[in-house]
């Protein structure tokens, strides 16, 4: 007994501060948030206890999920994530593939592709807000104006102002910004494949396509999965880019994170907390299987 305390005690003590801090400020606050989401705190007076609040269990969740506007937000989130994920994976992969064989000036290309990631979403949003201006013909600016100048007038459109799939226009800057990062991931994956494997395949007389298809691509699947998780959870949490291109009150680009912000500033803490929990669950659905998988592999 005393022996095991001696063995486990010091490391446990060393870890204790961070365990306690994480316990309180991450898991404790998640619990508080969940607790708030099961109450009926919808007004300012209830937040300070001037008026009573009571526990309504999952009513907020049912109300939200049954609410047409919130369904619209969820649909927007799904559309956005789909395009953002597909776009970055495709672009990133193609760039990495192009840069995979050492070529002259590779580092310049790498920097150019990776550079947009260094810009914050807010800053790039300000520029893209102008580029994605929905004015057409005489009042066109940004991309619509560019299309006019090169004689592609038919490509003019109202970008993010379409109420059904306008959110996908906001995925364009997001893809622009993170494709370089996915490229870097894939490039590292390509570089991690031992040269011997290529040589062996060539000795066996494969064509270049067969070499990629049967030798190199299969080895990139862990990289692809990491990229999927990283981009996926970023997409689900998207807020800043959408806020800086559109305005929180614009219905066409609403996502749950923006609804949460608006509820919070309306003193409706219960609904804001409920949306927070819903977002946490959605992210968990994406991330947890991945964590389980990597955990198993490490064993």
């Amino acid at each position: 007994m005393i022996k095991s305390v001696k063995r486990v005690g010091p490391p446990l003590l060393l870890l204790a501060p961070s365990l306690i801090l994480v316990g309180i400020f991450v898991y404790g606050l998640i619990a508080v948030n969940f607790g708030t989401s099961t109450t009926d705190i919808h007004t300012a007076a209830q937040t300070t206890g001037q008026e009573p609040s009571s526990n309504v269990w999952f009513k907020n969740y049912f109300d939200l999920l049954g609410n047409e506007a919130f369904q619209h937000s969820l649909k927007n989130l799904a559309l956005y994530t789909l395009l953002f994920l597909g776009g970055t994976l495709l672009m990133g992969f193609v760039w990495a593939w192009l840069l995979e064989r050492p070529i002259r000036g590779e580092s310049i290309f790498r920097s150019i592709y990776l550079f947009p990631m260094a810009v914050s979403f807010i800053a790039s949003g300000v520029v893209w807000r102008w580029l994605l201006n929905s004015g057409q013909d005489q009042s066109a600016t940004g991309l619509n104006r560019l299309f006019q100048m090169v004689g592609l007038d038919f490509l003019q459109n109202n970008w993010w102002n379409n109420v059904d799939y306008g959110i996908t226009a906001i995925a364009i800057p997001a893809i622009w910004q993170l494709s370089g990062y996915v490229m870097a991931l894939f490039l590292a994956g390509f570089r991690g494949i031992p040269e011997e494997l290529r040589e062996a395949a060539r000795m066996d007389g494969t064509t270049t396509w067969q070499l990629y298809r049967h030798v190199l691509f299969p080895q990139l699947s862990p990289v692809a999965l990491s990229a999927l998780i990283i981009i996926g959870h970023m997409s689900l949490k998207s807020f800043d880019l959408i806020m800086s291109i559109s305005k929180p009150a614009n219905y066409q680009t609403k996502v749950p994170a923006i609804d949460m912000y608006i509820y919070k500033s309306s003193f409706d803490y219960a609904n804001a907390a409920a949306i927070g929990s819903i977002l946490l669950v959605i992210v968990a659905v994406v991330v947890v299987p991945y964590l389980i998988r990597t955990n198993r592999k490490e064993k």
Partner: protein, 433 residues
Amino acid sequence: MRVNRRTSVLVAGAAITALTLTACSGSSNDNGGGSGGSGGGDSSAEVEVFTWWAAGSEKAGLDALVAAFDEQHPDTEFVNGAVAGGAGSAAKDLLQSRLQANDPPDTFQAHAGMELLDYINAGQLEDVSDLYDEFDLREAFPADLVERLTHEGNIYSIPSNIHRANVLWTNPSVLEENGLDPNAAYDSLDDWFADLDALQEAGVTPLSVATAWTQVHLLETILLADLGPDAYNGLWDGTTDWEGAEVTAALEDFEQAMSYTNGDRDGLDWPEATQLVIDGNAAFNVMGDWAVAAFEEQGKEFGTDFTAVPVPGTEGVFDFLADSFTLPVGAPNAGGAHAWLETVASLEGQTAFNAAKGSIPARTDADPADFSEYQQTAIDSFAQDTIVSSLAHGAATPVSTLNAVTDATSKFTSGASNLSTFQSELAAATAAG
């Protein structure tokens, strides 16, 4: 040695735990400090004034007010608590957190009227009606206004200025170029729509508008034009039926007005929409009287380069909003706040502030000669017209109602709902508030 190290780790761990626990218990402190009178100190050595006036004419106004304050109260130091960004939304968010954490500023800026209701219900504001008697404000302010500021017999803020929301800004040369009379007076929305139709056909943007809140601003002026001041006021106290035929007709007019507007509206904010009129790319814009600063800054002459009249159908009505200052419960320097509010209410303070900001004094005893030509016309109307409260600027409804109205409006103007859905969503939004 080993024992020593272990002990120190233990001590450190315990210290951190203790610190964390105190931090937590601090924030979950009592919530009911509301009724305890002015809980904070009475120090008047300084006053922290929390505003979102950090740039442009607003900053100039605040500076002028501070100069007046320094003259009247040289012993009290002014501490600027201005928070920039997001047309006040960044400041409001921070204010909300500070009030929840029982760390209020000594006084903060808020739109007068129902926007304060949340803070009042939350027990975060002191009743300042006794200051109205102390500073003789009941005589100085119009009775209409004082009535509008009173909530269940108490008054919670002192307005520093008055803005008018129902102003139609016009670029006369655009009208002239398209064969319309630039000096036409429109008695009703229908007269106005006839000219808008003509402009539409000529290929000019007839009416410029910006993002959702400016669309709500337009909606409110059209409701006011169609319903008249009494029925408009009834929308907020429940005596006018939101589902009624009158409101349907007004919403149809709103739909028609929106059909004349620029396609890129949701990407713009009000200065850009006003700029369209200044540059002659649009003929009309409905915006509050703070837009006058945008015209004047660019050297435009009132009467020749631009005109400003009440929105058609709202002649004789003053759709008001006001910035005002409050006394939060538990303000650390209540004495300083008292001094600040005295300056805000004083004739010198109001004159200095409004001459710089472009709004007009709430006091009726101000000398019109101290103000610009446009402001003089506004002062005249404020003294004579029927005063109603603005929806888009927090005077008529609490924040949550305004947010719900804005949501419904954005949904409607982006084409996601039809008129009858819009109407029932508006009814639901105002009923919930």
